[in-house]
Structure formats: structure tokens, C-alpha cells
């Protein structure tokens, strides 16, 4: 029986979850910029930000203040409505994805089951794809509305790149979905608990999808890096060719919104890679009840951090692709590889079920 006090309690829990997740995400995004500057600096034998706070730790705060105080310039010939709409759209869509990400094992609080996830959709994975597929408008419209040739080229490149790699991204996760038999992110993580057993022998290898779907993971992560417009696929904002690509004309807080949505998208991609291929929050769990709730969250965050570090590592290591290389990699290599992976996976599942 759901009474009014129960409803109030559920509403309170939902609000607390949303507040905490947004706060954590915003902080992560802010400190990801600091981490990126630090890691890239150390790769290049520099110190990086060092002046604001110890080890430059207050740099994101200083950057935020600067963004707010800078003048917001509107290009004379820009299409005003779309010029305003684009950064907001990108920001909202980037932060919307986090609402279906499960980040820990659920627990019961005074008889109420509480899941560590804002919304458990039974098509959570597709929801993320739907939201990210709309994200391309933010970039394309920003490029178009600025009425500048560099912006337009950046926007065009970006939309072409995002449509191309979205296919590989979608195909890559089909193998995982077939193995789990569900599109719910929680269900996919639940399917990865325990250890792999080969012929009844416990291998002590975690039951993660990465061990059976390495090709899918490769296709997923490559396509995801391209989707987030990061090095080595950052042609839409290649500064040697396009000044800054689609956000050339943007300044002040509107530029910051593009910046934040790019980093939030990186976080989403890393969360998804963790959930789909690396067992989500699964990891060694022991100790008292509180530790049993917090440790899964810790493992989840650790894995996500690993992917974010890998992103930055790639940026410090790899050169940018050429445009034709980018297109042929997407269409002629990743797409067939993704299809082949689906074929092999479905054959293996059919063989397993038959024998």
C-alpha cells in the first residue's frame, strides 16, 4: 500500500539522488579539466597549472569565475535563436544521460528498497543512444548559426563523423545485449556477476563481458571516442585547420557549456564502457553493511576514472587522423568488424544453447 508518506519518502529519495548525482557529475567535469591539463603537462614534461591553490587544485574554480565574468559576444550575422539554443541543447542532453546510469548495488532503508540509480528504464541502453543521437544537433546548429566558415566546416565535419560512428557504436553493444538478454543497464550489470566457469572449473576470472567481447569493446570505445569528438578524432575542432571548429564564435558561459557537455559526454561514455564490458560495480566486497554499499560505488568510480585517464592519455599520445582516414576507418573497418562480431556472438550463443 503506497500511502502519502510513502510517496513523500520516494519523492525525497529521488530528489536527493538527483541532487547528489548532479553535484558529483559537475564536480567530476570541473576536475576532469584540471586532471587533463595536469596529465598532459606531465606527459610533456611540464608542471601544468600550479599557481591557484596547491598543485593548481583551485584552477577549475578560477576558470568558472572567469567564464562567468567574460563578455558574451554575439556575432553580428548570427542566427540569434539557434545560436542560443545550441549550447543549451548540448548541455541538457549531455547531463540527461547520467539519469539512467546505475552506479552501485541497491540496499533497503527502513524497509524501502533504494536503487543507486535515478531511473531504471528497461530500455536504458537505448535511451542513452537516443539522447546522444540528438546531441549532434547541438554541434551542427552551433556551427550553422555562428555564420562563420570555420564554424560551419566544424559543424559539418562533426555531424558527418557522428552519424558515421553512431552505427558502429550501436552494432558494438548488440553482442553484449545478446549475452545479457536485456536492454536494462542494471540487468546487463547483473548478468556479469560471479566468475567465469570453463567446463565447470572456476577460473577466478570475473564474469565480465570484456573477456568474451573484446572485439565489441574495441569497436565500442573507438566509436565512442569519435562520438565525443576527442583526440585522435577531434577533427571538428582541429585548431590547425578550423581555429576551434563549431564553437569558434562562442564566448563566455556559452562556450563553457560546450566544454562541459563534451566532458560530461566523456563521463557517460566511460560509465557505459564500465557497465557494458567491465562488470559495472562488481568487485571484491567485504566488511560491515555500510562498506558493502560503498565498495561497489567505489569500484564503479575507479573503473570510470580508469577510462577517463585513458582518454587523457590518448590525447597526450596520439596525433589527429586525416579526414579520409577517419571516414574509411569508420565505414570500412569498424562497421564490418561490428557486424562480424554480432554474427560470431549469435552463432556462439546458438551453439551453446543447442549443445
Amino acid at each position: 500500500m503506497a500511502t502519502y508518506s510513502d510517496m513523500g519518502f520516494l519523492l525525497l529519495v529521488a530528489c536527493v539522488k538527483i541532487a547528489v548525482v548532479l553535484l558529483v557529475l559537475l564536480t567530476t567535469v570541473a576536475y576532469l579539466t584540471w586532471l587533463e591539463r595536469k596529465v598532459v603537462a606531465h606527459i610533456q614534461a611540464r608542471w601544468g597549472p600550479y599557481l591557484v591553490g596547491p598543485h593548481g587544485l583551485l584552477q577549475p574554480v578560477a576558470d568558472g569565475v572567469k567564464f562567468i565574468l567574460k563578455e558574451d559576444i554575439l556575432p553580428l550575422e548570427a542566427d540569434r535563436v539557434v545560436y542560443w539554443l545550441a549550447p543549451f541543447l548540448g548541455f541538457v542532453l549531455a547531463f540527461l544521460c547520467i539519469s539512467v546510469i546505475p552506479f552501485g548495488r541497491g540496499f533497503t532503508f527502513h524497509g524501502h528498497p533504494i536503487e543507486l540509480q535515478i531511473a531504471d528504464l528497461n530500455i536504458g541502453l537505448l535511451f542513452i543512444f537516443a539522447v546522444t543521437s540528438l546531441g549532434v544537433y547541438s554541434i551542427a546548429l552551433a556551427g550553422w548559426s555562428s555564420n562563420s566558415k570555420y564554424s560551419l566546416f566544424g559543424g559539418l565535419r562533426s555531424s558527418a563523423q557522428m552519424i558515421s560512428y553512431e552505427l558502429s557504436l550501436g552494432l558494438a553493444v548488440v553482442g553484449v545485449v545478446m549475452l545479457a538478454g536485456t536492454l536494462s543497464l542494471r540487468g546487463i550489470v547483473d548478468a556479469q556477476s560471479g566468475f567465469w566457469h570453463i567446463a565447470g572449473v572456476n577460473t577466478w576470472l570475473p564474469h565480465w563481458n570484456i573477456f568474451v567481447q573484446p572485439v565489441a569493446f574495441f569497436v565500442y570505445f573507438t566509436a565512442a571516442v569519435a562520438e565525443t569528438n576527442r583526440v585522435p578524432f577531434d577533427l571538428p575542432e582541429g585548431e590547425t585547420e578550423l581555429v576551434a571548429g563549431f564553437h569558434t564564435e562562442y564566448s563566455s558561459m556559452k562556450f563553457a557549456m560546450f566544454f562541459m557537455s563534451e566532458y560530461a559526454n566523456m563521463v557517460t561514455v566511460s560509465c557505459l564502457a564500465t557497465l557494458l564490458f567491465f562488470g559495472g560495480w562488481h568487485g571484491p566486497v567485504f566488511g560491515p553493511a555500510l562498506l558493502r554499499i560503498l565498495l561497489p560505488v567505489f569500484w564503479f568510480c575507479l573503473k570510470v576514472f580508469g577510462f577517463l585517464f585513458f582518454y587523457i592519455w590518448m590525447r597526450g599520445t596520439l596525433p589527429r587522423f586525416r579526414y579520409d582516414q577517419l571516414m574509411s576507418l569508420g565505414w570500412k573497418f569498424l562497421l564490418p568488424l561490428g557486424l562480424l562480431n554480432i554474427l560470431v556472438t549469435s552463432l556462439a550463443i546458438a551453439w551453446h544453447e543447442a549443445g
Binding site: A130, L134, Y137, A140, L141, L156, S159, I163
Partner: protein, 163 residues
């Protein structure tokens, strides 16, 4: 639920009107995206979550991106109006009225006034849709894929002038 339906429906109709009334192609395309997303909202209210998400992914996320892409590439400016053709001037309004009347009579005939606004939730899970597609409707499904394949081949032949 009914309130949400009316909101979605109203947004869809207004945005659809805006598609026609706008003179700038990009605004028309954006309005069409709004129409598609609000239709996805209607699907969601009917309990067809899968359909709603696929609607957004395919139509709003892929097809409309191509529309916007082409508009941007051609850098299409404001639409120019010409004097309407004589046939459109004299036959336009009566034909629209005729189609509207026909549609309304069909819809009224199909659903009696007592019919509920929202039907009972049906099983629209991905698994159920997959079963239907690959058991009951496997022939139409395969024929559709062949048609799409032919269309793709045609597009490649048209785009690639020399071999």
C-alpha cells in the same frame, strides 16, 4: 496521463504547423524534430517505450540529421514565394477540406465515442516486437530489407559517377 497526452498532441500539432509556416528551412527542420519527439512522447504514453526510443533514434537522430546536414551544406536562406499556380488556388482549399472530412469520418467510424483515449497497455517490449517481426511478419520484413538494399545500391551508383 490524459493531460500529458494533450500536451504532447498540442506540441506536435503546433510544431507541425510551424514546419509549414516557417520561411527559414532550418527552423522548419527543427520544428519537424519537435514533431517527431512529441510523437515519441505519445508512444511512451501508450506504453510502447521501445517504439518511442526507436522513433527518436531513427527519425530525430538519423534522418533529420541528414536533412539539417543538407540544409547547412547548401546554406539555404529564406524561402522565396512565387504566385501560386491557378490549380492550387482554386482546388487547394476544397481538396484539403475533402481529405479532412474523409479522415474524420473514418476515425469517428473506427472509434465510438465511448472508446477510451488510451487503450489498455499492450506488450510492446523489444522481445515481443522481435517475435512478431521474425515469426508473423517475416516476409514483409525481409522484403523491406531487400528494398532498402536496392535503394542503397541505387544511391551509391548515382553518387559514384565514374567507375
Amino acid at each position: 496521463m490524459a493531460i500529458l497526452f494533450y500536451i504532447c498532441a498540442a506540441v506536435a500539432v503546433l510544431a507541425a504547423l510551424n514546419v509549414i509556416l516557417q520561411r527559414t528551412p532550418v527552423y522548419s527542420a527543427l520544428s519537424l524534430i519537435v514533431v517527431l519527439c512529441s510523437l515519441a512522447g505519445v508512444y511512451l504514453l501508450l506504453g510502447a517505450e521501445f517504439m518511442a526510443v526507436i522513433q527518436v533514434i531513427i527519425y530525430a537522430g538519423a534522418i533529420m540529421v541528414l536533412f539539417v546536414f543538407v540544409i547547412m551544406l547548401l546554406n539555404a536562406g529564406h524561402e522565396t514565394t512565387t504566385h501560386r499556380s491557378r490549380m492550387a488556388r482554386w482546388l487547394g482549399a476544397p481538396l484539403i477540406a475533402a481529405i479532412l472530412v474523409e479522415l474524420l469520418t473514418v476515425i469517428w467510424g473506427q472509434f465510438p465515442a465511448t472508446a477510451k483515449l488510451l487503450p489498455a497497455p499492450l506488450d510492446a517490449s523489444p522481445a515481443a516486437i522481435g517475435h512478431l517481426l521474425f515469426r508473423n511478419y517475416v516476409l514483409p520484413f525481409e522484403v523491406t530489407s531487400i528494398v532498402i538494399l536496392v535503394a542503397i545500391l541505387g544511391a551509391v551508383v548515382l553518387a559514384k559517377k565514374e567507375f
